[in-house]
Amino acid sequence: MNRLQSDLGFPLLTTTSRSLSARPGATVVFFPSTLKLGFIAIIFLAVLATGCHSPDDSYAPKTRDPGVAPGEVLLGSSLALKGHASFLGTQTLRGAMSYLNHVNEQGGVHGRSIKVVAYDDSYDPPMCLANTQKLIIEDQVFALFCYVGTPTTVKVLPLIEEARIPLLGMFTGANALREPFSRFLINVRASYYQETGAAVRHLVDDLGLKKIAVFYQYDAYGFDGLTGTELALKRFNLAPVAGGSYNRGTLDVQEGLNKIMSSGAEAVVMIGTYDPCAKFIRLAHEQGFRPLFYLVSFVGADELARRLENQQGITVVMSQVVPPPDRLDPNPLLTGPDGYVTLLRRYYPEDQPNFVGFEGFINARVLVEGLKRAGTDLTRDGFIDAIESIHDMGLGPDINIAFSANDHQGLDRVHFTRLENGQFALIKDWAEIKAQLVAPR
């Protein structure tokens, strides 16, 4: 109503008064101009007052943010702790918890220990939805942390927007988390578009491949990767020669494989999880199909490597959003006193360092930095502002965390690894791979 008045009422009134005062001087007594203006104004106000009220779109009463207590800050997580993607969820959580336990031991952040409530959603979007609602309403968490998967995370986006709760660290590069920009979503890892974009560049430029097919999980995650690949190929005036898919949670890859095989693809971009992807590669090899297999990071390097342990003669490239955690170069982020490797061994000794956990660890690093910067008077808004103030947090060589008011993606760098000797190692030279491909089999 105020806007209305100021937009319509006052300019209107000045227009009126201008036209009245421009009248040539008359000696006949007219009704005074001010009265006329007042008359008009009263009419308008009367009409306006008959019921324009500004809608209040938020019914949430503004009180102190939940999940914050003098000695504790409570975070919530819903991720795949069971089921066919359980490795991803479990390792992400453990990697994060390694760091958080360490921090809590040191006294927490501003005297608050960081507690994480985690529910299993088994990579099932409805379950993730239910869990998230529970976390928000019942557990009253301060923020959400370490979500895994595209369909699951995307599903809860409206909930996050409505509850105005920050979500930090998603093990997914889905574009939906980045566009449209949301203040409440804080991505750490690079996006699928970035991954596929970089990959396609290497495939086309470095390896000279043109016939590229896409094998994808038939859900939001797969579609996202497919779109990323298509966009990347379009930049080279190329398009995927074939597209094959499978349903999430199943291993029905043959149909997709057939499609791709008949296209004569030179490389297959694979957006899926480790089990179906591993099966696809094995079947392809058995059926004499030997393209270059490129997989996005989400597939899960370590699990995939395990499943392809005894496979020979395959070229498997995977993009990673973090550098390999078992690099031989000394890296304080890994091997330092508060490094991932060190802390993982301390808190989860039976686990091997892996990409996924490393990511979780880095998520925790970012979280703690944000909490530190947010200060003692911890609010959700303050926390987000704190994160945005991280402009150049170097966690190690090749790992630089940078946020800003309109950049909620911490890492931008994509690393490429290749399966060698049962392990994924950084690719140092693409020419080698090229040579291998050309060599006749």
């Binding site: 308008f44 019914y59 409805p126 939805l129 239910a130 309403i137 599903k155 409206p158 909930l159």
Partner: protein, 672 residues
């Protein structure tokens, strides 16, 4: 009380300017219509929106109800949540759907899309009766209001739960608000446009009216030099270019219509002419306002022409007035105050013009003026001329003089008035007086013999007495005292008698005073008798007097009346003499003078038994220089003078005569 307020308001409304009247009327109508349209639109819109909203909500609810039955039965709450969540948050829906929740048969909430604790009041707010397929209720959720649409979830015929779709009413309100905003924006735009238009229009109408009103006011003050506007002045040209303006005698149809138009002299009706290219009277083609301005201009031009004519006419007559050879007065027809006087009046009456203006006319002419002017007043305008001869007026310093006064009705400066012209006849009157005097001298001459005779007697008596006394002294005889006394007394009385005769003579010969006085009619008669009575007896003419008693006096001059009676008895004597001469056998020699009062008339009759007056002579007898006598001594003025004198005193003289028998002159005067 209310009626008074309304009446006050109506009065105020009438009094505000036309421009504002137009503006407010149109504005009020526009606003009323717009408000009506707005309300109507809103009513229609809101009703339909709400209906549509309900329908959508019901559709969503039904969809959910169908798809959720499996999940409810399986107690698969995550899937249920996912279902309702999708329905609630699907892109555009999220603005429409405030919440969705599903409850079971016992109204326990199975799943909901809120991000805070489920409000208890909502749970039971809208129950669907068992025989209904839906229920819609308005529910207040925090700051928002929502339509809760409840759809039962059925498996076969049994209800297993209820889907509640909460539709955001604010959505509707926003739409309505947007509508209102748009409408108001449009309305204000319309108001501004109407404002500008009506302002222009009203000004276009009222500004000329206002100007014309101002001009009318100027005109009513007599200021005719008003210029309507520059354009018209420049177009109009110089006033003197108009022939009717330059010469007031030239008729113009615009000005005079067709009054007095018959220039061709052929008896047929022609109109007054107009100039082929009239510069001044216009008939523009335009709207009512332009035509009004034109008519106004024409009217002003006509008035200017008319005034000019009037001025010229006035000038003409003013110059006549100013240069009139006789004094001219204009007096107020009721109070007889002098309104105007020409320079000659100033000259003659000796007062300055300022002194004259406002002076009552009776101050200059005291006698007779009041009744005199009464006779004029009944006679209407511009007709009726009344003449008053030999009126006595007074110059400054109370100097009297005689005038002939003519008066007639007129209008002066639009008001009825009387215009008087006075011709100074003092000289003439003096000449008259001189004539009378001459006549008198002649009479005196005639009387001289008689007077001499009359005087002789007392003188003889005195001589005798004194001779007697002288003789006695001479003879040294003693005069007995009684004899002496007798003689002396007789001598004294004879002296008195002589003196009386001389006095009478003297008074006869005196010139009359100007001022008339009260006169007893008997006195002059007696005086004349004493002068000529004895003489007449010597001629064997017997003069008898029959004088009435108690007769009221009349306003006259005594010695003039003496002259009158002398003339009359002289004529009577002459008539008797003539009769004796010509008709010797007839009785002749008696003159009877009678006086009596008849009503308010005093009458004196002089009767003789002379020769009489023939009919032919009778008419001319009072004419001056007419005489029946051949004698050159007689100028024939006697009766003329008599007539003049009688008339001077406002009297009347009547003549009855019978040839051979006698004549009677009857004089009547108004008693005082």
């Amino acid at each position: 009380m209310n009626r008074n307020v309304i009446r006050e308001a109506a009065k105020r409304f009438r009094d505000i300017s036309l421009k504002n009247k137009i503006f407010f009327s149109i504005l009020a109508v526009i606003l009323i219509i717009s408000a009506a349209i707005a309300l109507l639109a809103r009513w229609i819109l809101v009703d339909n929106l709400i209906d549509e909203l309900e329908l959508r909500g019901i559709a969503i609810g039904r969809t959910i109800a169908e798809r959720s039955s499996g999940y409810i039965l399986d107690k698969n709450y995550p899937e249920l949540l996912s279902l309702i969540f999708d329905e609630a948050k699907l892109k555009e829906r999220q603005h429409l759907v405030s919440y969705i929740f599903v409850s079971d048969r016992e109204d326990q909430v199975l799943s909901h899309t809120l991000t805070r604790a489920f409000p208890e009041s909502l749970r039971l707010a809208n129950r669907v009766p068992s025989d209904e397929t839906k229920s819609v209720r308005l529910f207040r959720l925090g700051e928002q209001t929502a339509y809760d649409i409840a759809i039962p979830v059925t498996q076969g015929i049994y209800r297993i739960g209820t889907v509640h779709v909460g539709l955001n009413k604010d959505h509707i309100d926003q739409l309505v608000g947007k509508l209102r905003t748009t409408f108001l924006g449009f309305l204000s735009l319309v108001v501004v446009i109407i404002f500008v238009i009506t302002h222009r229009l009203a000004k276009y109408i009222t500004l000329p009216i206002f100007k014309l009103t101002q001009i009318s006011e100027e005109l009513s003050k007599g200021n005719f030099d008003v210029k309507l506007d520059a354009e018209q002045v420049s177009k109009g040209g110089q006033p003197l270019e108009c022939p009717a303006f330059a010469n007031p005698d030239v008729p113009c149809r615009h000005l005079d219509g067709n009054l007095g138009a018959d220039l061709h002299g052929d008896g047929m009706a022609h109109g007054n002419p107009v100039c082929r290219d009239c510069q001044f009277y216009r008939r523009q083609k335009g709207d009512e306002v332009a035509q009004l301005a034109d008519a106004f201009y024409n009217m002003i031009w006509g008035i200017r022409l008319y005034r000019r004519r009037l001025r010229e006419s006035e000038k003409k007559y003013r110059s006549l007035f100013d240069s009139g050879p006789d004094p001219i007065f204009v007096i107020n027809h009721q109070s007889f105050d002098i309104i105007d006087a020409n320079p000659r009046a100033v000259e003659v009456y000796g007062y300055s013009r300022d002194e004259l203006i406002g002076k009552p006319f009776t101050e200059l002419a005291p006698e007779h003026t009041h009744e005199y002017f009464q006779s004029l007043q009944g006679q209407g305008e511009t007709h009726g001329l009344v003449t008053y001869p030999k009126a006595l007026h007074y110059k400054k310093g109370h100097k009297p003089f005689y005038v002939n006064l003519h008066a007639s009705n007129t209008t002066y400066k639009g008001q009825p008035a009387i215009v008087l012209a006075s011709t100074d006849i003092t000289e003439m009157v003096e000449k008259d007086a001189q004539l009378i005097q001459a006549n008198k001298m002649k009479s005196l001459g005639e009387m001289s013999a008689g007077i001499a005779h009359e005087l002789n007697q007392p003188l003889n008596a005195i001589k005798m007495g004194s001779d007697f006394l002288g003789m006695m002294v001479e003879q040294k005889r003693e005069i007995p005292p009684s004899d002496l006394q007798q003689v002396v007394a007789e001598m004294s009385s004879q002296v008195d008698r002589a003196a009386e005769i001389i006095n009478t003579l003297r008074s006869f010969g005196r010139k009359a005073e100007l001022v008339i006085e009260r006169v007893d009619i008997n006195k002059p008669i007696q005086a004349v008798y004493s002068l000529v009575g004895r003489q007449f007896e010597l001629d064997n003419i017997r003069m008898e007097l029959d004088l009435g008693r108690g007769i009221r006096p009349i306003m006259a001059h005594d010695n003039r009346l003496q002259q009158v009676f002398f003339n009359l008895v002289a004529n009577a004597r002459d008539a008797i003499s003539e009769k004796k001469e010509r008709l010797p056998g007839r009785p002749a020699g008696r003159i009877l003078i009678r006086t009596y009062q008849e009503g308010d008339q005093v009458v004196a009759a002089v009767e003789d038994d002379g020769i009489g007056i023939s009919d032919t002579v009778r008419d001319k007898i009072f004419e001056p220089f007419f005489s029946t006598k051949e004698s050159s001594i007689d100028m024939g003025l006697g009766l003329a003078i008599t007539y003049g004198i009688v008339k001077d005193y406002g009297g009347d003289i009547q003549l009855t005569s019978q040839e051979g028998f006698g004549t009677t002159f009857k004089l009547s005067f108004s008693a005082t």
